[in-house]
Assembly symmetry: C2
Homo-oligomer: 460 residues x 2
């Protein structure tokens, strides 16, 4: 990086908060994207760690004037290359913006700086409040700013939806340097255009989120986990909408091929509690009373039995619950070394059984042993495409595209929760019309006229 | 209107669906905006009633080429002049797009054309489904397209939020004539920018919504209404967050000054059931079991008593419930002839008591007997500014601006649910910075480069 850039940044944030030695910035050049799929990071990078929105404003004014690309970095837990700087330029890390600004119990809201991690947030709530925040994308190293910028999801979306449903306000530094505020501590707000929702899921391409106000909720006291087994994927799928139609809304309804469950358990030195059947549904429930927890669990089993469930296990003890959830969490474990890609497709929930059939067929056609698990009530299925001796199979791009096209045929989406990032950008035209992409380009141009923010992500 | 415009439109939609006689189009020139505040409709208007998205596409291509303004009209139930054509041009009415496209119980969704009224939607659900749709802005003549375009609210927002939370997909005709689709029958979708949310609340300025897919929910079987009285506004306000923190989420928590309740009851030849106290909270509850309905009602009363509630009445019979809700619905009735403006301000819920004090002070300062009611758990208060002998008081603009500034001081918004429309557009700069407005202008330009859609609304 040119000397004058290094000097200018040091002047803004101070000597200590700029890294210009390539060997010392390795942790800032990658995220959790599968190594085989990672876009290559530019070696001509510089890392800058501002301590305030005002410093970010100065940095962006400088970058916008000198046309230096800026890639924003939160917790680096993304899996689609969003945080990887692919052009010579700066990595702007938000780690120093780590203050809890206000726990506002009266409004059931909390305001935090963008660099606060999910772990920090959960700790503050645990220690200082009876309220809770429902979105959990798995990795608690995720930063709140990043969770807003990527519209994070997670398992509990059946009841609580996604990040978008729980963000009330953001402070944003625009690529042109202005500090703006979208939204407010308001339940309803119809003045002007809703720019808050434009920022949610923008993946650091339209502005840098520096502060966020999130909604909090009263906690339900009674938790339960229920494991129901079926012989076929279709029977398992068909039971789910019936449960929702009855007014039972679990926190999560997870689907796993049994082959995944058994391997994941074995790797942990444990045993998957279900024996009969070939696939499982895991229901996680939280209810305000013990009565409701039991009566809803019973109703779920009753409905599943109508769809030929072959077994059901109510995890009574905390230990039994933990065992099931730990095995579920380890689903990737046994495959880790040999997964080429863990896709993140969603289809309308009713289309899941047909989608599964098509995926099985594609797996046979390409001779790839695709296994599946996912957030089934959301229609969000993770399909693992297997590798060949630690490499992408030769037909990887073609198989992936066939899977994307299958999803889109059912009105689905290429990415339910991971985001477009850099690795899925080239498939935008599979899902959107030319005009739809043009509108997105226009929006990018409106916010970021010189295209300095996170180049190569979503849209250019 | 020029002859060639009339002829061109007749060619697109057919002779029967164009009105060019001013005397026959009066119903298309106004909405429900208070007569004293209505912007004047252009007398050089023409009404066109397309029968399909394709016809709308043709009309917009023509309008975009010839630069003729197009004002979209749904049910005409708006109160901020959104549907009033203030420039010579067309009124495009969506009344013929009135088909229920698909009731999709498996996905708990329904797809309707934009011109389907809320009454139509409720009827279909009542007759053909056990599922329900929660948003109800009061007037069932509202069309679904309009409800999406204005991000409609209503009383039940405490539990169900606003329209935005329940829209999954829209078909839109862009001002340049392209038919596009944003969103899908998906619970999670992170591909590209979220243009669905840009369309929700656009008030017919960015595109014409022609179809919408809405989420449906299982109905709770047990309904209850609870009336709790207090001596002061502050005590009533302070009780509300405590209830929400306990995990009790009523459908609605309505606030009324007693003076309104008594007058509204008298006009209906009825009696307001509460005598003690000066202000009331009305809680509407719906729960899945009778037990929960009773236990939550009891908990609410208990909490209110800690805040010095002086009386509480549980409406046991359907008749008692109806009486309370009818009187609440008639709140505007006694004031109708003498209201200058019923403002639609929201503040953070915790700021409501201070906001109330400030409003009382402003009323005294201007010698205007402002009365208040509202959706208190949402922080959304309707303040009635009284008129003078059927006219706006001389200080009306100044008082209104003072009230807006008061709301903004608390982090509030000028409009919680009614929208910006034409009547609040001039106050955009009170709530937003110059840069924030510039971004909105950029977005308008992206969608509508020639500014033909609904001129004079939100942004120009």
């Amino acid at each position: 990086m040119k000397k004058e850039v290094i000097e200018s940044l040091k002047q803004i944030v101070g000597e200590d908060w700029v890294i210009d030695d390539l060997s010392k910035m390795q942790n800032y050049l990658y995220d959790e994207t599968e190594p085989l799929l990672r876009p290559e990071a530019s070696r001509d990078s510089i890392v800058v760690k501002p301590g305030s929105s005002e410093e970010i404003s100065q940095i962006l004014k400088y970058a916008n004037k000198t046309l230096i690309p800026v890639t924003v970095r939160g917790g680096g837990t993304g899996v689609v290359g969003g945080a990887i700087p692919v052009k010579p330029g700066m990595v702007l890390s938000l780690e120093r913006l780590n203050k809890i600004v206000e726990l506002d119990e009266k409004n059931l809201m909390i305001t935090v700086e963008a660099g606060v991690t999910l772990a920090d947030l959960l700790e503050v709530l645990e220690n200082e409040s009876k309220l809770f925040f429902p979105i959990h994308p798995g990795d608690e190293g995720a930063q709140i700013g990043g969770m807003v910028a990527t519209n994070a999801g997670g398992t509990k979306a059946v009841k609580h939806g996604i990040m978008r449903n729980h963000v009330k306000a953001v402070e944003v530094v625009l690529p042109t340097g202005e500090i703006v505020n979208f939204g407010g501590k308001l339940i309803k707000n119809n003045m002007g255009y809703d720019l808050l929702h434009m920022m949610i899921g923008n993946e650091g391409t339209l502005g840098i989120i520096t502060k966020a106000t999130l909604k909090l909720y009263a906690k339900n006291k009674y938790n339960g986990t229920l494991l129901v087994s079926f012989n076929t994927r279709r029977e398992a799928c068909d039971a789910v909408p019936k449960i929702l139609q009855e007014g039972i809304t679990p926190l999560a309804v997870e689907y796993m091929d049994r082959v995944i469950a058994d391997k994941a358990a074995e790797q942990l030195g444990s045993t998957w509690p279900a024996q009969k059947g070939a696939v499982d549904l895991i229901f996680m429930l939280d209810e305000p009373t013990e009565d409701e927890l039991y009566s809803n669990s019973e109703k779920i089993v009753e409905i599943c039995e109508k769809y030929n469930a072959v077994d059901s296990i109510i995890a009574e003890t905390a230990k039994e619950q933990r065992n099931i959830l730990e095995i579920r969490s380890n689903a990737y474990g046994p495959y880790k070394d040999n997964i080429s890609d863990a896709l993140d497709i969603a289809v309308p929930p009713s289309a899941v059984p047909d989608f599964f059939d098509d995926i099985t067929e594609l797996g046979e056609k390409y001779n790839n042993h695709i296994v599946s698990l996912g957030h089934i009530a959301d229609g969000n299925i993770h399909n693992f495409i297997m590798g060949e001796n630690g490499k992408l199979p030769s037909y990887y791009e073609k198989l992936k595209e066939d899977m994307y096209k299958t999803a889109i045929k059912y009105g689905g989406t290429i990415t339910a929760e991971h985001g477009t990032g850099k690795t899925r950008k080239k498939h935008m035209a599979l899902q959107f019309t030319q005009k739809e992409i043009e509108v997105m380009e226009g929006i990018k141009k409106t916010f970021d006229p010189n295209g300095i923010l996170n180049p190569g992500t979503i849209i250019d």
